[in-house]
Structures are given as C-alpha cells and as structure tokens.
Symmetry: C2
Subunit: 159 residues, 2 copies
Amino acid sequence: MSIERDHPKLGGEHRLSIARITAWLGRQAELALAESDLSLPQYRVLSLLADGIALPSSMADSLDVRRPSITAVVDGLVARGFVVREHDAEDRRKVTHSITKEGRRLLHAADHAVEDRLSAIAGTLADEDLVAGAIDGLARWGPALVEWRNLKRHQPVTS
Amino acid sequence: MSIERDHPKLGGEHRLSIARITAWLGRQAELALAESDLSLPQYRVLSLLADGIALPSSMADSLDVRRPSITAVVDGLVARGFVVREHDAEDRRKVTHSITKEGRRLLHAADHAVEDRLSAIAGTLADEDLVAGAIDGLARWGPALVEWRNLKRHQPVTS
DNA sequence: TATTGTTATACTCTATAACTATA
DNA sequence: TATAGTTATAGAGTATAACAATA
C-alpha cells in the first residue's frame, strides 16, 4: 500500500474512537476560529444570539456552562462591539443581548473559517464519496443536538 | 407534528452547520470528561501517549498547540501520577513521556464517558438507523484525522 | 549556531461562593 | 424569600518571548 511505517498505531489497524475524533475536531474548530480572533466559547455565544437565544440563563443552559461563564464571555464580545447588553424592561432583573451588525459579520466569517477547515480535513479522504459521507455524517448530529437541548429544558441545571 | 413552538430557529426549518455542531460536540466531550476530572487537553495528551507519541514537540504538532502548552498540561498529569516524564538518554535535550497504569485506566474510563454521552445524544434521534448513521458518520472522520496529521508532518509549525 | 524544552507572563474560560437588584 | 445576573476568586490552557541545556 502506501507509506505508513512512521505512524505505528495511528495508521492502519487502529480505529479511532468517536470520542477522540470529537476531541480533536473541537481543537480544529478552535484553530479555525483563531483566524477571526474568536474563541470557541465566544463563537458558541454568538451562534446562540444569532438564533435568538438572548438571556444569560438560557444561554448557560444551551451551552452547558454556569451563568458566570456567560457573563465573562459576553463581556469580551460587548467590549469589542459585537454584542449589546440591555436590561429587560418588563423584569429588570433580566438582561437581554443583541448581536450587532459587526457581530453578525464576524460570525459568518467564523462559520466559513470553520467549515473551510473541516472541509480541508475531510478533503484528505480518498474519494469524493468518502468526503461527502464525512460531511453528511457530521451534519446528522444537528437534529440530535436540538432534541438534546429540548430534553434538557425540562431538567435544567441549578445555580 | 410535535411541540416546537418554543424553539423558534433551532427546530424545524433551520439546519445546523457542521461548524456549530462541531463546536457544540466539543463542549459535550468536555462535560463528559469532567466526570473523570479530566480536561479536554489532558484527554488529548493521554490519548497521544497511549498511541506512543511521547515527545513534547511531536505532541505539540499532533495537537496543534505550542510547546509550552504541552509542558503545562503534562505537568498536571505528572503531578497526579498519570504520566512519567524522563530525559532521553541519547539526546539529553529531548524529553520522553510514558503513561502509567493509572493513566491508562483513567483514559479508558474517559473514553467510555465520552462515548456514552455521545451515544446518549445520538440516542435522541427518531430511530435506530439515524442513531447508527450519526455514530458511523462521525467515525468517518478518523481516517481524515490520520491523513491530516501525516500531511502536517511535512510542514510542521515553528516555535 | 541551532534545537529541545522550560520558565515567565498575560489573557481567556471555567467553576464555586457570595453579593446586588429586582420580584 | 426567591430569582436573575454579576462580582470575587482560583485553577487550567493557551500564546509569545526569553531562557537554559544540549547538540
């Protein structure tokens, strides 16, 4: 076959688990985002805001982090002008966030950067069918993500 | 259909990009690892060591981080007895690492924790075919990951 | 001189605990 | 009292720059 003398366990017989694949893909996304000077948590937050999830507590639920983490991440985005933070008129304890035009532009750039890197990675596969299969295979997790969040909504995290 | 009045953009018409799916899955892996008191970077390092990649510079290349990050992560693993750090006898500038029995046990526990959480997430899909398709679809990235690292080996990062 | 790895330093993200403001 | 969010604080991971040891 091809050259595979210098990568003993990774090439060939050894099959990578989806756990390790997931861990590694996460880092690759992080690297792609660095091109936009965006961290993975910041990207996640911008994504939520673009989907209309604007309250700190909802965001914390969706991202599975505690509320102070949301405050910290949003602080950075507000400072850079990508997000606006306002008090809710009805219930002044609540805070709502909006993504600015610049934020939306950055988010789109970030989306593309990540997609491009993932495509480049998948593009190393032998043929087009494998590439398409990988991209599609990952996309299949979308509905599961949505459903998982729905389930969690009925048993939210405390604190 | 089903209830989807309270998740405006996420459910139904809106299709999640693989970029956002990847970002979210990474966080889910991180959460699963927390059960083993392991961070995502620590998990990545232990995985490499189990695959026989033991030099800081090789590890940094494989994980796409700078070398000081490897030092920091390994420090924690050494302190907890999961990794042993030694000087190379041939070239004393080099350092080599070995995963201990406890480290290997922890890694396996971590592997299972992540797999279990991913399976639970995929398990929210409508039928068994969709679940299997998601798991398999993610697994398809394994060979791409291996190939990507091979390519990078010939154009490694500086510093 | 070049290479390997570490140290020093700063920034971000995370969590827990305690706090403020509002209900 | 209870809830929403923030502040305070500490620990981990990351990067860059500077350093030590070895080649």
